[in-house]
């Protein structure tokens, strides 16, 4: 876990996010009916979900590690990754809702993609409730690690598989082409891919800071 104390990738994250702020807002985008300039939301909406996904994957990784070794630090890493992931989850929902207001007409129109995102949000809220319901630390760490591993594949099915099978207005679902297929010209790619990487690194960075704070608290409270 040495890499979380190094600086180079944090600098990279800041540079990438700053670059997408300029390229994403200033570069030329294809002129499409209905979408118009809202297509720029792609640079800020999709990276939130990618950021969420990367911290959730790290969280599952540390849950597996916790079950194998029983070290308390791994549990702290897993829970802080989930906390950060939920923050990015909310940002993803909000950016999506803003975009939906301008293109679909409503903040929340009961689209399958929106509904299953809300259900998966409940899934991770249940994780936090489960943690609060157990007092004994090791038992809490073990059971929540198990639930975390159990919840992750279901979240993936909910958000990334199910909406593709029904009629959804969301790009990339239910026969609607994703932006990548037709509209994402090379000019957009310059802004889009750095945004994905930059915001993922940003999410990981926030998670590591939260983890380090938790670790200090844990060490302070432990008896030695």
């Amino acid at each position: 876990m040495k890499v979380i104390y190094q600086t180079w990738w944090k600098v990279l994250a800041v540079l990438l996010v700053l670059s997408t702020l300029t390229t994403g807002l200033l570069f030329r985008v294809p002129v499409l009916p209905i979408l118009h300039e809202t297509i720029r939301n792609l640079y800020f909406h999709v990276p939130m979900w990618i950021g969420m996904l990367s911290v959730f994957i790290i969280s599952v990784f540390y849950s597996v590690k916790y079950l194998n070794t029983g070290k308390e630090e791994y549990d702290l890493a897993a829970v802080e990754c989930v906390n950060t992931g939920l923050f990015f989850y909310s940002l993803g929902l909000i950016t999506g809702m803003l975009w939906a207001k301008f293109t679909w007409g409503e903040f929340w129109s009961g689209d399958p993609k929106q509904n299953s995102a809300a259900i998966a949000f409940l899934l991770y809220c249940a994780y936090l409730v489960l943690r609060n319901s157990i007092d004994e630390e090791q038992k809490r760490a073990k059971i929540s690690a198990i639930y975390n591993i159990f919840a992750f594949p279901i979240m993936v099915v909910l958000i990334f598989v199910l909406p593709r099978m029904t009629d959804s207005l969301h790009p990339g679902s239910g026969g609607n082409p994703a932006f990548g297929k037709y509209d994402l010209d090379n000019g957009m790619k310059i802004a889009f891919y750095p945004a994905m990487l930059g915001w993922s690194l940003m999410a990981v960075w926030i998670a590591t800071i939260r983890y380090r704070i938790r670790l200090i608290e844990y060490k302070k409270n432990s008896i030695n």
Partner: protein, 227 residues
């Protein structure tokens, strides 16, 4: 081979215990019959409802909600009714995978029987509008299998975390919502008598969810039981 042998013996034990008391089966059966009857009486307060346009939709959704709550009640018991000392005894003679597998298979059997009986009772009270009965029956079976696999694992987690019903509901509902959405879609198309090949995608996703849930429970249960 050892695993299969242990699973089979534990499964026989589950069936034998249930056969002696018939508590879970009769209890949930009575629960289902009374719920159906309450729904029947409540809906018959509105005359002409059976002929109305929304009737098939309500028919289908109501059936799945009854089955959902019946299965939560039936399966929540599977780990909670075991005493701590008896669980310890099982773990000393069998592998944890055998225990969760036997519980899952037993719950599948129990839920299939219960939901078939529930369907029969339901058909007795509410006028039948099913277009493709065989396919509807298949979707009911698939539904009881999916409910059993999901709820068995969740009840194992909930029973470790203090045995309360609230936790069972909080943990299981987000997991079960996608399953019940697919089931309602599948059974609705069976009801309307649509072309069967249109539903193969839904059946595939349902089987996929079951495979994911069973593999994760087999992988995770060995960590869960140890205190």
């Amino acid at each position: 081979m050892e695993l299969l042998h242990q699973t089979w013996n534990l499964f026989k034990k589950e069936v034998l215990l249930e056969w002696r008391s018939k508590y879970a089966f009769n209890g949930v059966l009575l629960y289902v019959v009374s719920t159906v009857f309450i729904c029947y009486i409540s809906f018959s307060l509105t005359p002409g409802f059976t002929g109305s346009k929304g009737y098939p939709i309500v028919w289908n959704v109501l059936f799945w909600i009854i089955i959902l709550f019946a299965s939560v009640n039936a399966i929540a018991k599977s780990f909670m009714q075991e005493s701590k000392s008896r669980l310890l005894y099982y773990y000393s003679i069998a592998s944890p995978q055998a225990i969760i597998l036997s519980k899952t298979i037993y719950n599948i059997l129990l839920m299939s029987l219960l939901s078939i009986l529930a369907l029969l009772v339901y058909l007795l009270f509410f006028t039948n509008t099913i277009g493709d009965p065989l396919f509807y029956f298949l979707s009911v079976l698939l539904g009881s299998i999916s409910f059993s696999t999901v709820f068995t694992m969740i009840s194992a987690i909930a029973s470790k975390a203090g045995n309360n019903g609230t936790l069972m509901a909080i943990l299981s509902f987000p997991v079960i919502i996608p399953v019940i959405l697919i089931l309602i879609r599948l059974s609705k198309s069976a009801m309307d008598g649509l072309e069967r090949s249109l539903s193969y995608g839904n059946i595939g996703v349902l089987c996929l969810i079951n495979v994911i849930v069973i593999t994760t429970s087999l992988l995770l249960f060995p960590y869960l039981w140890r205190d």
